[in-house]
Symmetry: D2
Subunit: 92 residues, 4 copies
């Protein structure tokens, strides 16, 4: 069902780090840290999520998408779904 | 030091929700959920972080930036800092 | 070489419209129009370019990428190139 | 009305360059250049537009926004308008 099996540990450890960053931002806000420093940290989390997303996207394209194309079944559908999710990603 | 005091509860509850979303994404990965669904969730978190960031940015501009401009001190410096952090935000 | 042949007219007419929008923004600046209106127009152009980009990306994936995967040649290379260009796109 | 007067030449010459880049992309498409090269060029234009936008934004904040804050009139309104346009910008 998923294509990122060999990236699972990598993804989970990155997401653990993101969780830690979110926790850190909450602490910054509780301690009234300077707004710009909070914003810089939020940007860093967005950057980290972009990398997680790109890893999943790459696995998905090398896995699910390639398999569908090779089996010559429904490849248009799978590619349109891929484009939609990339578009969502680009606009956030 | 910070300008978001009256938004603190709002910000913290949003960040708690983001933390829950990250936790949910980790679970999805552990359970081998479909790549596109994982990506959709990551986009949702990016959208949520954009909103948190915009709230901090608005408080900062209404607070710190306005105060500096009113006191006619170093306002160029404060505005350049503001632009830098917005630029970082736009490129993530 | 390219995969967007059947989208050529569509792409060129969109880009003509973008050119017209850029021209309009220049005129706004020459006529000292309000900053926020200029910024709104620039955002609109970015949105239009995202759509042009997504059309090229979809053609590329349905064409070049699919062909390479079907022919079972260098598909990893082609997918890595694809990811790189999507990453560039997401960060602008 | 506008705050970017002293940046006018700078902005117009940047936008002329963007116009040239759009023209170049149209030529690439007419000549069936490789999809990824077209996408790389579109990303470059988005980057150039981000810089134009940031210049207008900085002028606007140093000019219109600061003036409104100094005159202690409607500053909330002006800042909310500013946030809205930044949000649009961040999501494109």
């Amino acid at each position: 069902m998923s294509s990122y099996q060999d990236q699972k540990d990598n993804l989970l450890s990155r997401l653990n780090r993101v969780e830690g960053q979110i926790c850190g931002i909450k602490k910054m806000i509780e301690e009234d840290k300077y707004c710009v420093d909070v914003l810089t940290q939020i940007s860093a989390v967005k950057g980290a999520l972009n990398k997680v997303g790109m890893t999943v996207l790459e696995s998905h394209t090398k896995g699910c998408v390639s398999d569908t194309i090779e089996s010559k079944a429904d490849s248009d559908e799978v590619i349109e779904e891929l484009m939609e999710v990339i578009f969502k990603f680009t606009n956030k």
